[in-house]
């Protein structure tokens, strides 16, 4: 482990990626994540095996990632909402070809050009595949500087292990915050185990093809189910969530990223007033921590989904609970950052409207 460093969120992602052995980064300028791209430019320029290209578009960048990934090396790209839209074709292809890649989305207000403030409007895009076809990508949601470091390291490991693109879903607020962070020891990319499926010139072996075109429909169906079985395995193995004060909770807030930080502040305030409220903070948005929710719903009667959007994770909560408990929603799209007081008020209103018991 390194010593504690005080770093801006965008820089945390980049430093973590380099320490994970990533030597290939392709990006394009877009607010509010330019610091990530610039850090990579500097970091990779000072490494003998580092390759940084400012690509001509976010679209070109994801395709460069495809090329490096085919060659078996760790590669990353990053952007913010509109630029991530441009990458969807590439992400669909990466998924189909089972190629590893890490994509960091620093969400901003949308849709369209939107604004440069923090939002959580890309949840559907990230968790439902995003591009065309029947696929999913792992989606990780850090909620602090330390988690940005830890989950970036995890992203590269999961990506290689499962041969799947991994999206890290952050937002404009977290990318600008500075928090103390400890990094794990750096990985030398040469020490990573070789991959048996890469394209590197057919020397001493039969030639290989990496493709996603499968004209035969029977074979294509089998390929889709093969991906699906992989997704089931991933769900069993890596689903993660943080539980905050949920043991005796009557109402549980569900929030991720910046929203979870605000929620924690709100929960501390209402706990002081005797309300039994906790937080379920998903760290994997795909796979969604459905089991955690189901387990909790045996006792918890009310769930409040708080998102910086008009309600996207809300649908996964509803799907998970299948009508078992009451689900409430509070959302602020467009880049508005709620205050803990505001959320505390919302929690308070729901709590008393539903007649939940307090600690006297």
């Amino acid at each position: 482990m390194s010593e504690k460093m005080l770093l801006r969120g965008s820089h945390v992602y980049a430093e973590a990626a380099v320490r994970a052995g990533c030597r290939f980064y392709f990006g394009y300028p877009i607010t509010p994540q330019n610091e990530l791209t610039e850090y990579m430019a500097n970091a990779l320029a000072s490494l003998p095996d580092g390759v940084f290209i400012q690509a001509e578009s976010e679209l070109a960048a994801i395709n460069m990632v495809i090329g490096v990934s085919m060659a078996g090396k760790r590669a990353m790209t990053s952007s913010s909402s509109p630029g991530i839209s441009l990458k969807q074709e590439g992400i669909s292809f990466l998924s189909a070809m089972e190629l590893p890649a890490v994509i960091i989305n620093t969400m901003r207000g949308g849709p369209g050009l939107g604004n440069i403030a923090a939002s959580q409007g890309d949840y559907f895009q990230a968790t439902r595949g995003g591009g065309h076809g029947d696929y999913r990508t792992i989606v990780l949601a850090p909620g602090s500087g330390q988690e940005m470091a830890d989950l970036t390291r995890a992203a590269f490991e999961y990506s290689d292990r499962y041969r799947i693109p991994v999206i890290i879903l952050g937002d404009g607020m977290m990318s600008q915050m500075m928090e103390p962070v400890e990094f794990p020891d750096p990985i030398d990319p040469k020490s990573l185990p070789p991959k048996p499926w890469v394209l590197d010139g057919a020397k001493g072996r039969p030639s290989r093809v990496i493709k996603s075109l499968i004209l035969d429909t029977t074979a294509m169906e089998e390929h889709n189910w093969k991906l699906f079985r992989k997704y089931e395995m991933i769900e069993k193995e890596i689903t993660q969530a943080e539980l905050f004060l949920t043991d005796d909770a009557r109402l549980v807030v569900i929030a991720y990223g910046t929203a979870s930080r605000i929620a924690k502040g709100a929960i501390k305030r209402v706990r002081d007033m005797g309300l039994r409220v906790g937080l379920l903070k998903p760290k994997t948005l795909w796979p969604f921590p459905k089991r955690f929710l189901l387990e909790m719903s045996r006792v918890v009667t009310d769930f409040l989904v708080f998102e910086m959007s008009t309600g996207q994770m809300l649908e996964d909560v509803k799907l998970s609970l299948e009508g078992r408990r009451r689900i409430h929603f509070y959302g602020r799209p467009g880049g508005i950052i709620s205050t803990p007081d505001e959320i505390a008020k919302v929690i308070n209103n729901i709590y008393f409207k539903e007649g939940l018991e307090t600690e006297v």
């Binding site: 070109a60 395709n63 460069m64 495809i66 090329g67 085919m70 001493g204």
Partner: protein, 255 residues
């Protein structure tokens, strides 16, 4: 009697699915012959297009990585940057490279990526049934220009190779054709030079090959070749468009 002409080693035994008289099969053969002669079968990685040649992976006995439509130059950039001592080439049609892939191609060329691009120009979108392509010529009939390409409505045909020559990163660009035996031999020479430019680490090389699509031109193979020679070359003259490398001597450390 000794055999003086046969199938190159770098081509699999698969039977070509291409139409009778299609230029793709000739160009595939030339690329494979060059790979054999340069002895790079174990070092080369190909990036085929979306288009009729998407099935190139069935034919070339080399490592092949499929690219989304038009993005070949960006995928090849990633591959070559990751594996600088391998030979990376793209094989792209006119729609792939000069419509949807224009930006990626121009920028890879501008960066001087050390890759080789084989640009197969048949003036039409073949696989999808004969729609107008960026290189369809004025008056040429296609399924989306039923009255013939109209300059006012559709623009004139685009000369991507000349555009690329304007960027600093390109070092060798030649336009050839496969409509006659002489031109086929010239095409092979150009492809060989382009690969050797890459092997010498000199920069971005491209060979544009005018190629017949008899099916969508609605001509016989012989007529399609005549059309190339008499008409298409008026818009796309066969010539060396750019050559900053000159004559390449032997490359003893590479070949």
């Amino acid at each position: 009697m000794k055999k003086v002409f046969g199938k190159p080693k770098s081509l699999k035994d698969a039977v070509f699915h291409y139409c009778p008289g299609c230029g793709h099969s000739i160009i595939h053969r030339l690329v494979a012959e060059v790979i054999d002669e340069l002895n790079i079968q174990e070092k080369v990685i190909g990036v085929p297009p979306a288009g009729c040649a998407v099935l190139a992976y069935d034919y070339f006995d080399i490592d092949i990585g499929e690219s989304p439509h038009g993005r070949g130059a960006a995928v090849a950039t990633g591959l070559k940057r990751a594996l600088p001592d391998r030979i990376v080439f793209t094989y792209q049609g006119d729609g792939d490279i000069a419509a949807i892939g224009t930006a990626e191609t121009i920028h890879a060329a501008n960066r001087g990526e050390n890759i080789t691009v084989i640009f197969v120009n048949n003036g039409v979108y073949g696989m999808t049934g004969g729609q107008m392509a960026p290189t369809t010529i004025i008056g040429q009939i296609s399924t989306t220009t039923p009255g013939g390409r109209n300059e006012k409505r559709d623009g004139a045909p685009i000369d991507l190779s000349e555009m690329l020559a304007l960027t600093n990163g390109t070092v060798y660009i030649e336009r050839t054709a496969v409509d006659t035996p002489k031109n086929i031999i010239r095409t092979k020479k150009a492809i060989k030079k382009a690969f050797r430019v890459q092997m010498a680490g000199l920069g971005f090389s491209l060979v544009e090959v005018l190629s017949p699509c008899p099916t969508n031109l609605k001509l016989s193979p012989v007529q399609a070749n005549e059309w190339i020679g008499s008409t298409m070359t008026n818009y796309f003259p066969l010539k060396v468009i750019k050559d900053k490398v000159g004559k390449l001597g032997a490359l003893p450390h590479l070949e």
